[in-house]
Every structure is written in C-alpha cells, then in structure tokens.
C-alpha cells in the first residue's frame, strides 16, 4: 500500500501536535491555579488524578513536561529531512510509551480517569502512528 505523501503526514502531525500543546497547556494552567481541569462527563476523576503524586515527575508538573514534548513534536513536524523524521518518531515513541504508563497508573493505581489525560494519550498515539509511517516511508529519501 502506498504511504501518504510526506507533506500530508507532516500537516497531520502539525495539527495533532498543536492540539496536544493546547490540551497539555490547559491541564498545566488548571493545576497551576490550584484546581483541576473540568471533567465534562463529571465524576471528578481529573481532581483525583491531579491530586495524585504521579502528577509530578521529579518535582516537575507532568502536564508542563507534556507541553514541552508536544512543542518538540510540533518542531519535528514542521522541519524537513531525516533528522526531523527520526526526531518525530523518537519523541512520539517516548510520549506514547509514557502515556501507556500513565494510563496504567490511572486505571490500576490511582483508580480514576481524567478525560484530558486520555485525550492527550489518544493524541500521542496518533503522533506515534504518523511518526512511524513517516520514518518507514521517507527516511533516506530526499527532503
């Protein structure tokens, strides 16, 4: 099956990474205000997850780390060449792997689900799929 044009993949990654910046920034800002992001379906899972010690990594807010990660992915989507293709794949793999771990924590340790964290995990999964496709199809080709 012929892969999508690299321009299409880069445009999709740009769109998804921009959404990711928005989601992660919203969570980080809500936490910085001393609250939690609003859970549209109710249930208060977001408050429980945000209150958890797992919402910080070495004293740094995980959502803030997410903002940085999505910005780096946005940069990789906007740039051309093998460096950007490999960076997009590698960063998305890190983000995807850590999202799987965080989702596991929500389900089995914190026992609460934050919809915004799930949204971020879905976006990171999409970026991983795009990153893998772009790398496999275009590394070693002309930018």
């Amino acid at each position: 099956m012929k892969p999508p044009a690299e321009g299409t993949l880069r445009a999709a990654a740009t769109f998804v990474a921009t959404l990711g910046v928005g989601v992660a920034a919203y969570i980080a800002i809500a936490e910085a205000d001393g609250g939690a992001p609003a859970c549209f379906a109710g249930g208060g899972g977001c408050e429980t997850v945000i209150a958890s010690s797992h919402s910080e990594l070495a004293g740094i807010n995980v959502a803030a780390i997410g903002v940085v990660g999505y910005l780096l992915l946005l940069g990789a989507a906007l740039l051309r060449g093998d460096g950007a293709r490999l960076a997009g794949f590698g960063l998305a793999l890190v983000g995807f792997g850590y999202s799987v771990y965080l989702t596991w924590l929500e389900l089995f340790v914190i026992e609460a689900i934050c919809q915004w964290c799930v949204a971020s995990a879905v976006l990171m999964t999409a970026l991983f799929a795009i990153g893998v496709t772009r790398m496999l199809a275009y590394v070693g080709t002309e930018p």
Binding site: G42, G44, T48, A51, V94, G97, Y101, I110, L136, V139
Partner: protein, 237 residues
C-alpha cells in the same frame, strides 16, 4: 531492489533502531523516576510534618474526629492508610472540605479504619487510633498518607510508625506504643472494619454522612470532588 533502495533500507534500519533504542531507554528512565519519586515509607525521612500542622492548626480534635464536637453534621471517611487513592484524597479533596466546612464548625470529620488491604493496614490503623487518644489522630493520618509507601511492601514497621507518631507530635510515645499494641485498640480496628462491611462499603475511601436531616447514616460512596461532599453536608444540616 536497486542499489539506492538497498542503501535507504540500511540507513532506515540503522537510524530507526538507534532512535527506537534511545526512546525506550528514555521511557524506562521516566518510569523509574516516577516510581522512585513517590515511594515514601521511609522512617528516616518523614516529610510534611509542618504542612500537616499548618493544615490542622486551630481545629479541635478528639480520637479520630476533627472539628467542633457540637457540629450537627458528621462526615465519616472510611479509609485504609495503605490505600493510594485515600492518599490522593488526603492531599486534594479532604483538605478542601476541612477548610470550607470543618474549620468553621459546620461539620466534623471522622476517620474510621476500613483496614482491608493487609496486615500492615491493621498495624497502621491501630497506631492512628492510639495517636487519636492523645488528640493527634488526624495529624497522624495526614502525615502517614504524606509518607505512604507501596502497599504491603513491609514499610509499616514499628520504626516507621514511631517516626510518623513523633512527626505528628504525639507526646507520650510509650503510652502510644502500649495503646496501639493493646487488645482494646485491636478490637476497635476490627469493629471499624465490621462497621464498614455492615454499611456495604467495598472500597476506600468511602464517605458516610450523619446529620439532622439524614435518617441514620447516608452512604455517599466515593465522590470525586469536594463540592459533592460539601453539598451533602449542606443537605444534611
């Protein structure tokens, strides 16, 4: 496959593998940092005593009941000191309710031990009750949660419990030690577990409310936000 394709394939395999390896190492490092950051359970490094004192300062407490003894409404939290979700509540939702409803005297907040996770939960529960007998039960509970370790990992030792009791401000450690080991306190733990089971509770934290407008006890379950508990207090008064 022509030579150009072969070269591309080699480059892809080499660079892709190296990138994937680095990414997997990065994930492992992040997970290890995450796990080590919240381990707790360290008797030599009890943290948060000053924060606990500041949070509870000026609020009367007796046994494991926090707040005005004459308050019309009693909100009861059934918790297990080893439960990580209870720890989350202790650091997020419960302090909000304390500030909004307990400090001002609208309600009092009782902690009861639904010590179901394991033997370490029972030891911790007895230690909390014994601290409560010296008027520092909530300080003990709050400080324990802040230093909670992994469930049934062996961290709830005599040394750890003593460090929490001292951090909570328990003055007579010998009396506390004697009480927590006594059959009387152990029976109280069993009675609190039995009460939780009689109420049909299946997990922790679970909240129950008593008040003038409540017939007996109303089981609230595990509301996910402070507002639900505050509304329940308003409705019960």
């Amino acid at each position: 496959m022509n030579e150009a394709d072969e070269q591309r394939r080699e480059r892809l395999v080499k660079l892709g593998s190296a990138t994937a390896f680095l990414a997997i190492v990065a994930i492992a490092v992040l997970v290890v940092i995450s796990q080590s950051g919240g381990d707790g359970g360290d008797a030599a490094n009890v943290e948060g005593a000053a924060e606990v004192r500041a949070e509870l300062e000026g609020i009367p407490q007796s046994d494991l009941v926090l707040g005005d003894p004459d308050a019309e409404v009693t909100l009861i939290e059934f918790g297990d000191l080893q439960c990580p979700v209870c720890k989350s509540y202790s650091e997020g939702i419960v302090p909000q309710v304390i500030e909004s409803k307990v400090r001002g005297g609208e309600a009092r907040l009782a902690f009861r031990n639904f010590a179901f996770i394991g033997d370490e939960s029972v030891d911790a529960a007895a230690a909390a009750i014994a601290a409560g007998e010296q008027g520092l039960g909530w300080d003990f509970v709050d400080l324990f949660y802040r230093n909670q370790g992994a469930e049934e990992s062996g961290y709830v030792t005599d040394e750890f419990l003593r460090a929490i009791a001292e951090g909570a401000g328990v003055q007579d450690i010998d009396k506390w030690d004697e009480a927590r080991e006594s059959p009387r306190v152990r029976r109280q733990v069993e009675a609190e577990i039995a009460e939780a089971e009689d109420l049909g509770l299946t997990g922790t934290p679970s909240f129950v409310i008593e008040g003038p407008l409540v017939d007996g006890e109303d089981v609230l379950g595990t509301p996910g936000d402070a507002g639900t508990l505050e509304d329940a207090i308003d409705d019960a008064a």
